[in-house]
Amino acid sequence: MDTFASQSAERESLESVVIRFAGDSGDGMQLTGTQFTQSTALMGNDLATFPDFPAEIRAPAGTTFGVSGFQIHFASRDIMTPGDAPDVLVAMNPAALKVNLPELKVGGMLLVNTGAFTAGNLKKAGYKENPLDGDELAPYRVLKLDISKLTLASVEPFELSTKEALRSKNMWTLGLVMWMFDRERGETVAWLEKKFAKKPEIAQANIAALNAGHAYGETAEFPQGIGCYTVPKADLEAGTYRNITGNEATAWGVVAGAKLAAIRPVLGSYPITPASTILHTLANLKEHGVVTFQAEDEIAAVCAAIGASYAGSLGLTSTSGPGVALKAEAIGLAVATELPLLIIDVQRGGPSTGLPTKTEQSDLLQAVYGRNGDCPLPVIAAQTPGDCFYMAIEAIRLAVKYMTPVMLLTDGALANSAEPWKIPSFSDFEPFPAQFRTDPEGFQPFLRDPETLARVWPKPGTPGTEHRIGGIEKDYDSGNISYDPDNHHKMTKVRAAKVAQIADDVPAQTVDQGDPEGDLLVVGWGSTYGAISQAVSACRAAGLKVSHAHIRYISPLPRGLGELLKSFKHVLIPEMNNGMLIKLLRAEFLVDAQGLNKIAGQPFKVSEIEAAIRSYLSNEPSE
């Protein structure tokens, strides 16, 4: 939002807007944001969202640590991130203002619910004086409304208790913001009717509040600088679109991948933030043949998955970093027995319990190395919410083809963020049906395909291929237990070779943007894709010789990556950790890469990466 005209009959057209809804955990900000997102998607804008909520389920009301936020970036052009600083901040109480005001752009619009600025709430937020009275808000265009009071008035006919009535204030606010940005209310009305089908008076009260907020926008006189806007449709590639979050995409990718492999997916999982919604989503897809098992702990979850794979299904487990740590020994068993297994790690802040609801990329080395023994397995990473669908399928393809556990890394930002996603047609995917060994002739359980080095997959229930496997080292030729020194050397080497040569079966590394040589290559992986992409794009537009490569295959690293790294004078690696990919790349390619590390539980801002690129290249003598 660059300029703000005063209110006029004409809506001002904006290219892009970032709105952050912020309030108490109990204020329904996530629902408000989600509904605004749905409506925005239907308006044909490109968008990206970032929900940011506390770990506490019901943090004490009014406190700064109980503030829940939902940021949406929508535009008439292609965008990839939820936006850096908001243009518009909706603050439902003093704590929300206190936490979020520092992020609001100078000159940005601030909508505050004055009804929540009571002495008690101000104290809980740590305000000695009411910020609405002082100069602190002078740099912003402030719209002060007693939303609490306006909401109560709007739902008066429904004779709800004050407490119940006040619950609709998020819908009143949504109605007003929808009016301001020219959004349709129809989908939200339909959603409310469905959600409160059993409590029609609550549904109607919320709809009344929504409409009242909208009507308020139409009729009220706003102060100078507050207006109404429109954001034209984005020029998206033709196709049918939907909104998708990373965890939904991952779950759906699992169902699709298992269908392509022609085997039944059996999920063993244990609830953990931020991965639980994968379990929830798959538990509700039983008609697709998905078996879901909520195990007693993380270890049981992965063990059940391994048992299912042994018996001829596709075992998989979804978790986050602490869960991966607990599963490590069992994952080693799957490596040793060479069974297909999908481990989905939705990374969160660590170490230990860390920041459960915040995002981080700090499980990279755990994924690649975090097991006892020489224990290699393929590690791949999704880069956008929609990419989770494709990478889940890819993980299953690799697991089944190479008889190996595969780790799929996503993170809290991908898990919960939504983006418009062009829906693919399932018939465009190449099936990769699992092959089971049924021929007893010459059978031993560790017979290998000479090309893929994958062992055979014999399934219990098949006559003639009875066999015993386990975590003890196997003889290369017979599959029986072996403590032979040379055999262990040989088996360790063949397990490593099997995983290493997967590099031949995945796309070679290319630049995502820019030339394949130049001054600076920015290398990222995972959810930093959007921020890096936009930062590089901006710098290139300013004439800087910078390129962007994004690694989706962490282990083994793709072919061509080494050459690419050596084609640039400098390599910059932004990561949401204290430097992990950088260690892999330095070790593998002896490249003097530099890190840009953000370990704040928050995604990179485009501006942060852009600033790093510029400071890097400003020291370069111009040619």
Binding site: Q38, L42, A256, A300, A304, S309, Y310, G312, P460, R468
Partner: protein, 344 residues
Amino acid sequence: MTPLDPPKKLTRKDFVSDQEVRWCPGCGDYAIVAAIQRVLPKLGSTRENTVFVSGIGCSSRFPYYMNTYGFHTIHGRAPALATGVKLANPELDVWVITGDGDGLSIGGNHFLHLLRRNVNLQIILFNNRIYGLTKGQYSPTSLVGKKSPSTPLGSIDSPVTPAAFALGSGARFVSRAIDVDVKNLTAVLTRAHEFKGTGLIEVFQNCPVFNDGAFSHFTERATATETQLHLVHGEPMIFGKERDRGLRLRPGTLQIEVVTIGENGITEADILVHDETNRAQAFLLAGLEPPHFPVALGVLFAAPAPAFEEALLDQNRQAVELRGAGDIDALLRKGHTWTVGDDS
């Protein structure tokens, strides 16, 4: 084999693998593996449909000696892994092999949850009251005062009674046998196999190297009639060489006492009749210990309930009935969608 060939009648030998057995000479495990290899043909089991899943420990080497499918997994986790096998293919006949350390210490959590879920499989707990494979440390079933390399002054923590733990976990089938008592071991193995749900068989197994004679106070043949009570559903709980001693509830209490028929006006009618569907009674029986009581052997408790994996997979069938078989394209287009440009 053509469909006209009569099915080959399997014998013990068909279930013996070609692997050299690596247990210590005199180990109770030999008797157990032999009993199972003998009983499987009688149960109508087939090699291809039978899966042995074990954890870690001496007993967990078991699957290597069976010419069936087998999975030697990791310490304590066999119940979880076996649950996964049943979820993938409920038709498989699964036996879990575990020990007192594997099942009750590192794997105690999984043991509990397997039993309460009632997954349809058999679990044999080889209880020798010691860690054998790691060379003789005390285990969660070792008696207080057990001197071992890790407890040179004697262990101080109370042991767990596996059958009582199982009953408390909600197990639906709890039985006990002695390793070398082929007749009774075979009987409980058969009953556990017939049982639909998790069939627990605790075997008192002698470790001649690290804990020799741990159970000899009730397993010695000479005194067995006085120290063992063999339970039969519907029959009075009578034992003793003269078959004149029995159990009854001490009047006015929930405690069991030993009485002698013919003394103090006690007749056979006063003796408790074994009701294997009575969980409370099974608890009392699980806790009986020499020297004051005989050890209760056989089926302590058997109360069928739906098997976990069947109920779970039934939800999948119901979902298909209700919603129709899943379609990926429909899934991806569920909810709000919108079309940009010409997507005809």
